[in-house]
């Protein structure tokens, strides 16, 4: 784990209101694994850092994907090339992708693309055939970037690809990885209990101390999205108790 003063090097648009920020973070770039995240703070900014999956690595740079979901992310998006943020990471336990499976299906909903690119590249490097299913509400909300051998689009309104959910549009595969709204992940759990899913929670410290990012488990009790997670076997999670929608305060 590293605490890096990271310079923002670029920002690009990948869907309606969805952006990729690139920042210089050498130590994190060389250590990060698929499904891991960074916790980003800035000054002046909100009190707590904000967690983001690492979307891509390019040499000494890392990329994150974000939307202005609250006051904090809006501030982050107003920053320019050359501004600095404090970047803590890599954090969490990511996807387990080893040799063995012949096929993998990656299912992402909305911002869930954020944890999929590194996973797609890792799987491809092991000779696994990767199908990536992108889901969003409309074609304009679909991330324009992708990776993998086969691509499937799914939109709620049918404006691009299959009309319906990404989960319904996904083929079966030896390895199933998913990231998106918790409601979508609960549907993944129904269909593939053994799938690996990256959950979304509110987060405090990101390092396992505050116990704020509790994930309720089927076997009882809670553990920490930032430490044991954010990737879990879908069947392990008590989906009834995990908040299905996170709303963000506008005042923080």
């Amino acid at each position: 784990m590293f605490l890096v003063d990271a310079r923002i090097t670029s920002k690009r648009t990948v869907a309606r209101d969805m952006y990729v920020l690139t920042m210089q973070a050498r130590e994190i770039a060389s250590a990060v694994l698929p499904g891991q995240f960074v916790n980003i703070g800035w000054s002046p900014g909100p009190l707590l850092r904000r967690p983001f999956s690492v979307y891509r690595v390019d040499g000494e740079r890392i990329e994150i994907v974000l939307k202005a979901v609250g006051a904090g992310t809006a501030q982050l998006l107003s920053m320019s090339q050359g501004d600095h943020v404090s970047c803590l990471g890599p954090l969490g336990h990511g996807f387990e992708i080893g040799a063995g499976p012949r096929t993998a299906v990656l299912i992402s909903g909305g911002l869930g693309v954020a944890s999929m690119t590194l996973a797609a590249r890792r799987a491809a490097s092991l000779g696994i055939r990767v199908t990536w299913v992108h889901g969003a509400r409309t074609s304009e909300d679909l991330c324009s970037e992708s990776d993998g051998d086969d691509l499937v689009w799914a939109t709620d309104d049918g404006s691009k690809g299959v009309k319906g959910t990404a989960v319904a549009a996904a083929p079966d595969a030896d390895l199933v990885l998913a990231c998106g709204p918790n409601r979508m992940l609960a549907a993944v759990a129904e269909r593939w209990p053994g799938a690996q899913v990256a959950v979304e929670t509110y987060m405090g410290c990101g390092t396992g101390v505050c116990l704020g990012c509790a994930v309720p488990l089927k076997r009882g009790g809670y553990d920490r999205a930032c430490k044991e997670g954010p990737v879990y076997r879908a069947a392990e999670i008590d989906w009834e108790t995990l908040p299905s929608h996170l709303s963000y305060a506008v005042t923080a």
Binding site: L48, S86, T207, A214, L242, S247, A249
Partner: protein, 300 residues
């Protein structure tokens, strides 16, 4: 930068606050030379699951938490953590909790003499448990009974962490001093609330939570000062301290030491930065130790 908390000497004036430092094994990247000591996450006799999510909500310059004292219980703490503490070069205090005065006493007795346990911080101020916690902290008789129950079972230093949710903190401070406390920690979190305007209900599943962070600092400073005026035992100031200047305000207002909590969530090295900033201030002003700082402490 030694400071004295009663009989106990700390190598520095900054202590890691309970609930923000786990069991001392979790916080990465902190320069530990700066730790005067630490207080463990609150523990009960038995394991506790804690509250369902959402457990935290950010507010302006602060955060609400309702973790519910999730923890493994005292036996796991003795087995898994105390042996590590025994190897460390700073004292570890255990934050103890119970649903009755007798439970607090039992916990102290179980931990007394365990290598690695340097003392106790009695938590009579947690707002996030159904029974116990805050109840003991806003009744001087209950606060005194809990303190006595612990005092009878240990010769180790006993600190009592006070709640701000009282009309006169001096009354509680004097009651626990009389019951045998060696020091006071002032203050724990304020009870707060935040509403989700999409769901028309509280953002925390527990409905209310403890407010911490810079938002509470001026309130905490005032209450720590009031407690320090009311008693002769040392007061350890806590509440929203993020920078050295914040800590120095508490020291001048009559505190013998400080605890840093929520700041560690944001900056894993916050404790070291506060410690080094205090040292730099003392040197610049020509003081050789925190005890030499002028105090603003009219006595009640």
């Amino acid at each position: 930068m030694f400071v004295a908390i009663g009989e106990l000497k700390l190598r520095g004036p900054v202590v890691a606050a309970s609930g923000t430092f786990g069991y001392g094994t979790e916080v990465p990247l902190l320069e530990r030379r700066a730790l005067g000591g630490m207080v463990s996450k609150g523990i009960f006799l038995r394991p506790r699951e804690g509250t369902p999510p959402p457990r935290i909500a950010e507010t302006p310059s602060g955060m609400l938490n309702a973790i519910g004292l999730q923890g493994p219980g005292v036996e796991a703490l003795i087995r898994d953590y105390a042996p590590k503490w025994a190897e460390w070069d700073f004292p570890v205090f255990v934050n103890i909790n119970g649903e009755s005065a007798a439970e607090y006493g039992e916990l102290a007795a179980r931990l007394d003499g365990v290598p690695g346990v340097a003392g106790f911080e009695i938590n009579i101020s947690c707002p996030n448990v159904e029974q116990g916690g805050l109840y003991f902290g806003n009744d001087p008789r209950a606060a005194s009974a809990v303190t006595e129950a612990v005092r009878k079972r240990t010769h180790l230093p006993v600190w009592v962490k006070l709640t701000p949710m009282v009309t006169d903190i001096g009354v509680i401070a004097r009651a626990v001093e009389a019951a045998g406390a060696d020091a006071l920690c002032a203050i724990n979190t304020f009870v707060g609330m935040s509403i989700d305007l999409n769901a028309y209900k509280p953002r925390l599943s527990f409905q209310t939570g403890g407010l911490s962070g810079p938002a509470i600092r001026p309130l905490a400073l005032h209450l720590a000062h009031q407690a320090a005026r009311a008693v002769r035992i040392p007061v350890i100031g806590v509440g929203g301290i993020t920078r050295a200047e914040d800590a120095l305000e508490f020291l001048v207002a009559g505190c013998a030491a400080v605890q840093v909590g929520t700041a560690t969530f944001v900056n894993p090295n916050a404790i070291a930065e506060v410690h080094d900033g205090i040292a730099a201030f003392l040197e610049a002003k020509g003081f050789s130790s925190p005890a030499d700082l002028p105090r603003f402490l009219p006595r009640d």
